[in-house]
């Protein structure tokens, strides 16, 4: 069973007037089949955690380890991490002009699976997943994220998650900017993948709303660059009622 282990992770980023530490010792273990929600106020470092694990060049790891089944994730290139089974659904997916969704998906699936998927089954697979996410077939011919609405971008991210079947999926504020209908469709997509029991999900969110659709096994409150409290789903209810205030006050510079 795949396990992602984050130990004492410290991450800095270059800002205007020097270097700023964003993550200040994160410890977290996510196992295949589990769903963890990471909740926290803006600026607490939630997205930094997601992008650092995925290997975005903007972030510098200064301390700590991230391993996937004992393999050193931090030593891998960005594409190697993905091929090892990591997936990041991005909050702001990037436009790639001139590359169609169908070409992109197939190239990606070929890279992740190590061989080109058989054309006939592949077409069927993509069609079914797209239908599940209520995406029009014409979507496949558009350029990646070009001119996509906010909802379309998120559906496209979850479509990739379904097709690439990661061991560990990090969903970075997948719920932000979605209306209720889109949120439901996207959540159902995530749940289809979770139901296979083969993905460990790290759900990063600012709001408790998405947790009505995607039920977490664990809830972590993220504040001031580290996990401030961990608990079960009931912790989300507490946050719903009380907000993040208690955690923010505790932070030195939040």
């Amino acid at each position: 069973m795949a396990t992602l282990e984050i130990r004492d992770l410290h991450v800095t980023v270059e800002v205007e007037n020097g270097t700023k530490e964003i993550l200040k010792g994160v410890d977290l273990t996510v196992k295949q089949g589990e769903t963890h929600a990471i909740m926290g106020p803006n600026g607490s470092g939630k997205s930094t955690l997601a992008y650092s694990i995925a290997g975005h060049p903007k972030y510098t790891i200064t301390q700590g380890t991230v391993t996937l089944d004992g393999e050193d994730v931090l030593a891998m290139e960005v594409d190697e991490r993905a091929r090892a089974g990591m997936f990041l659904a991005m909050q702001y997916p990037v436009e790639v002009p001139g590359v169609s969704v169908s070409n992109f998906l197939r190239t990606s699936a070929t890279a992740i699976r190590g061989e080109a998927p058989k054309l006939r089954t592949w077409v069927k697979e993509v069609k079914e997943s797209m239908a599940g996410l209520q995406m029009d077939p014409s979507f496949a011919e558009r350029n990646v994220n070009e001119g996509f609405s906010g909802g379309e971008k998120k559906r496209h991210e979850i479509l990739q998650m379904e097709l690439l079947k990661p061991k560990i999926a990090i969903l970075d504020e997948t719920d932000s900017g979605l209306d209720v209908d889109a949120l439901r469709v996207v959540s159902e997509g995530v749940n289809r993948v979770r139901e296979t029991g083969e993905v460990g999900t790290l759900l990063i969110t600012h709001y408790t709303r998405i947790l009505r659709y995607i039920k977490p096994d664990y809830v972590h409150v993220f504040a001031n660059g580290r996990i401030a409290e961990s608990g079960g789903p009931e912790l989300a209810d507490k946050l719903e009622n009380e907000g993040y205030e208690a955690y923010v006050k505790g932070g030195a510079s939040a």
Binding site: A54, G55, H56, P57, E77, V78, D79, R81, A82, R83, F87, L88, M90, P93, V94, E95, V96, P97, G98, V99, S100, N103, F104, T107, S108, A111, I112, N143, Q160, L164
Partner: protein
């Protein structure tokens, strides 16, 4: 209905986009067209038609100091049966009918060439195989003139391949008889040091179709100036261009479509990718719809993909409309950047860096390459693009 649009999808930190709102295609030139180099002052670099060009790298083509050398540049024509290939002197009446030099270097070429090659496809002759013209330099300096003429209803594909090292100024005339169909692919695959300045003049006959594909990969300075005018109504011109500008290269494509006759069409699509320090691509697209050219349908577009920092694009579409009685007119110019965020996104989906870059560039050019319609050229271009990319990643 006339519409003009400009859609910059993004700009580069090191690049720039300049767009002229108004144009005066004819009066912007520093001298009227002429076959005589003496009618043009030596440019100083601030003239509208020279302001983007590094004159100091033209090896004297612009100021009269470039002298033709003995070995010059070799021109070899391989033509299927039925095609006449001649080498003629300056006084041949068939030269210079498609257009007149509009700048000093083109006039210099016309004033200095000694022999011209004339390729004629007789009327109603439809060629099954392309005419292939190899222009090869071994370090010489040359002034050239070529004429390709198609009689009425003739159909031909011409591939002009430029290779080696040369300093070359040339005029190329395409004369299309009524109903003729000509596709010309001009490939500038020069070595790194070559300098090539050429004016291409097409005169498109009544109901004739002209397709020009200009492909520029190599050279130190390449400046190509395709121009189209119509000899009768019903003519169509498609001007396609593809360039891959590497570090230090200056590649300039200037176009003019003169809608001087009613009911003609033109479609211009140029796409370029740039990479490396001091890579500089210039695209000037002038379309003129004269008052008498009612029923004109025209569109022009330039797209640039900047792959690295340090490259610069100047893209200037000009559309000048003297009559409102047209079918359509539009232009667009956009320069986008392949940036680290795109790379991260693709790599985060397991795609290796090399493959990610290839994917983006191939996608960018694919649609245009498919429109060329000459299979072996299409394959060659895709291979060449991959080669350029390999060189950049390595």
């Amino acid at each position: 209905m006339a519409e003009a649009q400009n859609i910059p999808v993004g700009s580069t930190t090191a690049g720039s986009i300049a767009v002229a709102a108004e144009s005066t295609v004819a009066t912007r030139m520093s001298a009227p067209p002429s076959f005589d180099v003496a009618d043009f002052p030596v440019p100083h670099g601030r003239e509208e038609e020279w302001r983007f060009t590094p004159l100091e790298r033209l090896r004297g083509l612009h100021d009269g100091t470039a002298v033709a050398t003995g070995e010059g540049v070799k021109v070899e024509v391989e033509a299927p049966e039925g095609v006449t290939v001649e080498t003629v002197g300056r006084d041949d009446a068939r030269l210079g009918r498609a257009g007149t030099p509009v700048d000093r270097v083109a006039a210099q070429a016309y004033s200095a060439f000694e022999k011209a090659s004339v390729v004629t496809v007789p009327k109603e002759t439809v060629l099954a195989e392309p005419i292939r013209i190899a222009v090869h330099g071994d370090g010489g300096t040359a002034f050239g003139h070529q004429v390709i003429e198609l009689g009425a209803f003739a159909e031909a594909v011409v591939v002009i391949d430029h290779s080696g090292d040369a300093v070359l100024a040339a005029n190329v005339d395409y004369v299309l008889g009524d109903g003729a169909k000509l596709t010309v692919v001009s490939v500038q695959d020069w070595d790194d040091k070559a300098v090539h300045v050429a004016q291409h003049n097409a005169l498109v006959g009544r109901d004739a179709s002209f397709k020009s594909v200009v492909v520029t990969f190599g050279g130190d300075v390449v400046r190509i100036h395709p121009r189209v005018a119509y000899a009768g109504p019903g003519g169509e011109a498609e001007l396609f261009g593809l360039y891959f500008t590497d570090a230090g290269q200056h590649q300039e494509h200037r176009l003019l479509v003169d809608h001087n006759v009613p009911h003609c069409k033109s479609n211009v699509v140029y796409k370029g990718a740039l990479q490396g320090e001091q890579a500089h691509a210039v695209w000037i697209g002038d379309v003129l719809i004269e008052a008498k050219a009612e029923g004109t349908d025209t569109y022009e577009m330039n797209r640039n993909l900047v792959l690295t920092d340090g490259a610069r694009v100047d893209s200037v579409p000009n559309l000048e409309i003297e009559t409102g009685e047209i079918v359509g007119a539009g232009h667009a110019s956009a320069t986008g950047r392949f940036d680290d965020e795109q790379l991260f996104y693709l790599m985060a989906r397991g795609i290796p860096e090399r493959e990610a870059r290839r994917l983006v560039v191939r996608g960018f050019f694919a649609e245009l390459v498919q429109q060329i319609g000459v299979d072996d050229i299409q394959e060659r271009l895709i291979a060449k693009i991959e080669e350029e990319l390999e060189a950049s990643v390595a």
